[in-house]
């Protein structure tokens, strides 16, 4: 293939699915996974563009995104565990104290 457009299209599709997942699931862990899916689709686009321009910088960004994702998962899951301890639930709709 001499174009990366299919990869970018797939990336957009996966991103949209991730968005829908974030907005429709109520389990905090699943929302989290959907966010990972979105990050991953962005990574795919990065790699695709890196391939298209014949440069490594896109791949570097993926590397950093992965590091950030790992950090995010560590803290995020710690938060979920902490919340679960007090609320006995991972449903984000149960966490609506901060409202007007």
């Amino acid at each position: 293939m001499n174009t990366v457009s299919p990869f970018v299209l797939l990336s957009a599709l996966l991103f949209t699915l991730g968005v829908i997942g974030v907005l429709t699931r109520r389990n905090a862990i699943l929302i989290f996974m959907s966010i990972e899916l979105m990050l991953n689709s962005a990574n795919l686009a990065f790699v695709a563009f890196a391939h298209q321009w014949g440069q490594l910088d896109g791949q570097m960004f993926v590397f950093f995104v992965m590091a950030v994702a790992a950090a995010e998962v560590a803290v995020g899951l710690a938060l979920i565990v902490t919340i679960f301890r007090s609320k006995k639930s991972t449903n984000v709709d149960d966490l609506s104290q901060l409202k007007g």
Binding site: L23, T24, H51, L56, Q59, A71, N91
Partner: protein, 167 residues
């Protein structure tokens, strides 16, 4: 239809189906497994895009570490069964709206992509992207971000430890 395209379509289908599975599965464990499948297909796509290093990192970081952590937490909390009926928060309109907006976003992206489809050819210069080349980039132009990332990871570790510590 070239062999590459054939492989791509197959992988893309698997990835999309896995993503849909993630959205619809009733069990968090299945969702996690679908996500792992999706990550794996993306790893193979990286291989196709001349990024073998990232492909392997993708497997070992996402599949080998992050998703294991997810599974671990799911099993630890016993939270694999997802809530069945919609809670009484009265957000029934929310799901269709979310799907509709998501479709709109996809349409926008698709519009851009299709109007420009294949307009820019892949660069003819093939860059080397082995561990050595990545390392030279990391410790060269990207040294500062790299070090900042290490601080970020440290902070995340400390944060996670503090958050989950039993008082």
């Amino acid at each position: 239809m070239t062999f590459d395209l054939f492989v791509f379509i197959g992988l893309a289908l698997i990835g999309i189906l896995a993503a849909i599975g993630l959205l619809t599965s009733r069990s968090a464990i299945y969702a996690a497994l679908f996500l792992i499948l999706n990550f794996s297909t993306v790893a193979v796509l990286y291989l196709m895009l001349n990024a073998p290093f990232l492909a392997v990192i993708q497997v070992s970081v996402y599949a080998g570490a992050i998703m294991v952590l997810f599974l671990f937490v799911i099993m630890l909390l016993g939270a694999e069964r997802l809530a069945g009926p919609e809670a009484k928060t009265g957000l029934l309109w929310q799901r269709p709206l979310a799907v509709g907006l998501g479709a709109l976003l996809l349409l926008q992206a698709g519009y851009v992509l299709i109007t420009r489809f294949g307009q820019t050819a892949v660069s003819t210069t093939v860059v080397k992207s082995g561990p050595l080349d990545i390392g030279l980039m990391l410790f060269g132009p990207y040294l500062l971000p790299f070090e900042v990332t290490s601080v970020l990871l440290l902070v995340a570790i400390v944060g996670a430890v503090v958050l989950t510590r039993n008082k």
